[in-house]
């Protein structure tokens, strides 16, 4: 099976879906000849023409709003936000419109739009090219939100998002673009929305998370195994809305010790809901208090190297937190 980069998995998903279905198209800033600022849409305009890889004026609310209109008209648009930090002008369109169209029309209208936005830091992007805005949209009924950590899931989840009859926010991690490569089959497949995946089996503690920090957890887990004989069970949520309740409870029950990780800041983050879910249903199965390791509650990460490093999660931070929890 070929090993490909996370960013190529995203591009391939769009290319294959555009080949498969003439209603699928991508729009956003610089998505045309340039192929996006990260190169995610490279080659799509050459293959599919100007309309289906559509350069949009620099105006995020219109990128989302026009995509929503086209989706209601029966198209399957993929709206690209250049950075998730810049998608806030589109928040009204996403929360007031896309999320509510089916419900408010009593199922008369629907809005099968995909909104892709790169999240995460570690690229010296400073405050406004590094954020994780999941919690802004999380908890909005009517939206599905996915955040893959691997190339395999990125491709399969994006295909599932494009085929989904409802609006899906696709948060791709920009640090993963070229850093993460894994096996991706040539054949068509999807990763179902709403299903988590066990990344690593273990009996001593459970790590639950999504996106980039899971790779730190995997590295830390290998070292803990070698150095301390501690085996971590790692669950990739993959979809953060709707959360895979069953998968979460199963993973938590397996070890009775839960560490939740994400790069988005701790307060009001996805981890709070995961923790509440476990507390509601499994409190007496726990052998330790639920722990969260997340981005600090500051507005966003600084660009200076020590500041950025201090903000971000890494293997060492994960290892320390996991070891402490395992020994609790």
């Amino acid at each position: 099976m070929p090993v490909i980069e996370y960013i190529d998995a995203i591009r391939l998903a769009m290319k294959e879906e555009m080949e498969r279905d003439g209603d699928v198209f991508v729009l956003g800033e610089d998505v045309g000849l340039k192929g996006g600022v990260f190169g995610t849409t490279k080659g799509l305009q050459q293959q599919f023409g100007e309309l289906r890889a559509l350069d949009a004026p620099l105006a995020e609310s219109a990128i989302a709003g026009v995509a929503i209109g086209a989706a209601m008209a029966g198209m399957k648009p993929i709206a690209e936000m250049q950075y998730s930090d810049f998608m806030f002008p589109a928040t009204n369109q996403i929360i007031s419109e896309a999320a509510k169209i089916r419900y408010r029309s009593n199922n008369d209208w629907d809005c099968p739009v995909v909104i892709r936005a790169p999240i995460g830091g570690g690229v010296f992007g400073g405050l406004y090219h590094s954020q994780c805005p999941e919690s802004v949209f999380f908890g909005t009924p009517g939206l599905k939100i996915v955040a893959p950590a691997t190339a395999y899931d990125a491709k399969g989840l994006l295909k599932a998002a494009i085929r989904d009859p409802d609006p899906v926010l696709f948060f791709e991690n920009k640090k993963c673009y070229r850093l993460i490569s894994d096996e991706v089959p040539d054949e068509d497949y999807i990763v179902p929305i709403g299903k988590s995946k066990v990344m690593r089996e273990g009996a001593d503690l459970t790590v639950i998370g999504y996106s980039m920090p899971l790779h730190f957890a995997m590295q830390a887990a290998e070292e803990l195994s070698l150095e301390h004989g501690i085996e971590a069970h790692i669950l990739d949520l993959r979809t953060i809305q709707p959360l895979d309740r069953e998968g979460i409870l199963e993973a938590a029950a397996k070890t009775g010790k839960v560490l939740i990780v994400h790069e988005d800041n701790k307060t009001g983050g996805v981890g709070a809901e995961v923790a509440a879910m476990i507390a509601e249903e499994l409190l007496y199965d726990l052998d330790a208090p639920i722990r969260r390791l997340c981005g600090p509650d500051v507005p966003a990460m600084p660009i200076n190297p020590p500041g950025e490093k201090h903000f971000l999660l890494n293997k060492e931070k994960l290892k320390t937190a996991m070891l402490e929890l395992a020994r609790y």
Partner: protein, 342 residues
């Protein structure tokens, strides 16, 4: 305003390509919208419904817009005062009444949304919301879809003068201008955004904003529905010919309070309102039809009786109709099975 020509068969409506039947139908629709709207206000005052929002005096231009469009192919994105517009597109008084009473059979939202939040896929009326102007980029999206698929569809979106200040107005117009999309942006400038007069919203003319986006902006007298018809029809023809969007600013006036929750005399005078009421184009249009020998006082009396009966019946039906069941009221957050709605 010269309403009728002196020579028979040279009436304004004929020269615009409107048949005698159509121009009479326009008048009937305007009157239906007016009477429905008046009933809505009464029902709210009587405590029968919780809320009503009015489009009185805006109906003639709204109906003219609807009659200028192709209901088989075009897309419509109305705003909350557009009773005349949606009636001209085929929505019935019964449907509007079901929405007013928030009943389950309401095709707009099954009684989930406030009245005036239109939507009907059958009638190509796109579901709308309360945060104003979000529908403008949607219209651009519908026009983009039409262009991509080579369909002969034009999207017409309406909004108020207050909405012309929202980012979504500018973003939607600019996008449509860049890609020369078949869309008509219609600002129903009724001079007020709740309590705020136009002078506190903008210093310029709203129609002139089209200049900045590279397409025509036309200001038209909303009390001259035949002129509104002509302008919208031309904009539609331009759109279909691939010549891009048009911004139309319909000059009108809101004679009612913003809604039944507003007391407009807190910010404007009765005299000002009365002055504008005297410019109501509904009686003028009726006189035009009489002058053209298409209408008579007898027909008028019959029409009023007929409308009264239709509204009474719809009123009674909607009042008695059930609300959506609680089990159903929380459905359709997501598709219930794959492929739903396709």
């Amino acid at each position: 305003m010269k309403q009728a020509g002196s020579v028979q068969h040279n009436y304004r409506h004929s020269s615009l390509g409107l048949s005698d039947e159509r121009v009479v139908a326009m008048y009937k629709t305007m009157m239906m919208a007016r009477r429905f709207d008046e009933r809505g206000q009464l029902l709210q005052r009587a405590g029968k419904v919780n809320f009503h929002i009015s489009g009185i005096t805006q109906e003639p231009s709204q109906v003219a817009m609807g009659f200028a469009m192709d209901t088989e192919n075009d897309w419509f994105l109305p705003y909350y005062r557009d009773y005349g517009f949606v009636l001209s597109l085929g929505m019935t008084v019964k449907e509007l009444m079901l929405s007013l009473f928030a009943k389950g059979e309401d095709p707009n939202s099954a009684g989930r949304q406030m009245p005036g939040h239109f939507g009907s896929k059958r009638l190509r009326i796109v579901t709308g919301s309360s945060p104003v102007t979000t529908q403008v980029p949607h219209a651009t999206g519908f026009a983009l879809a039409a262009k991509m698929r080579g369909e002969p569809s034009v999207a017409l979106v309406t909004f108020g003068d207050g909405s012309s200040n929202q980012g979504d107005f500018h973003e939607g117009c600019n996008f449509a201008g860049v890609h020369q999309l078949p869309v008509i942006f219609v600002c129903e400038n009724n001079q007020y955004a709740i309590s705020m007069p136009l002078s506190k919203q903008t210093r310029g003319r709203i129609c002139d904003r089209a200049l900045g986006y590279g397409f025509p902006g036309i200001r038209v007298d909303g009390n001259d529905p035949l002129e509104v018809y002509r302008v919208v029809k031309e904009a539609r023809e331009r759109a279909l010919a691939g010549e891009g969007p048009t911004l139309i600013e319909i000059m009108t006036y809101r004679v009612t309070a913003h809604s039944t929750s507003d007391n407009d005399l807190a910010y404007r005078t009765k005299e000002e309102v009365e002055q504008h009421k005297s410019k109501d184009s509904l009686p003028v249009f009726k006189q035009y039809l009489i002058d053209a020998e298409l209408w008579s006082e007898e027909q008028e009396a019959d029409l009023q009786t007929e409308i009264r009966a239709v509204i009474d019946e719809a009123n009674e039906y909607a009042e008695k109709a059930p609300f959506q069941s609680i089990e159903d009221a929380f459905r359709h957050v997501f598709a219930e099975h794959s492929g739903e709605g396709k």
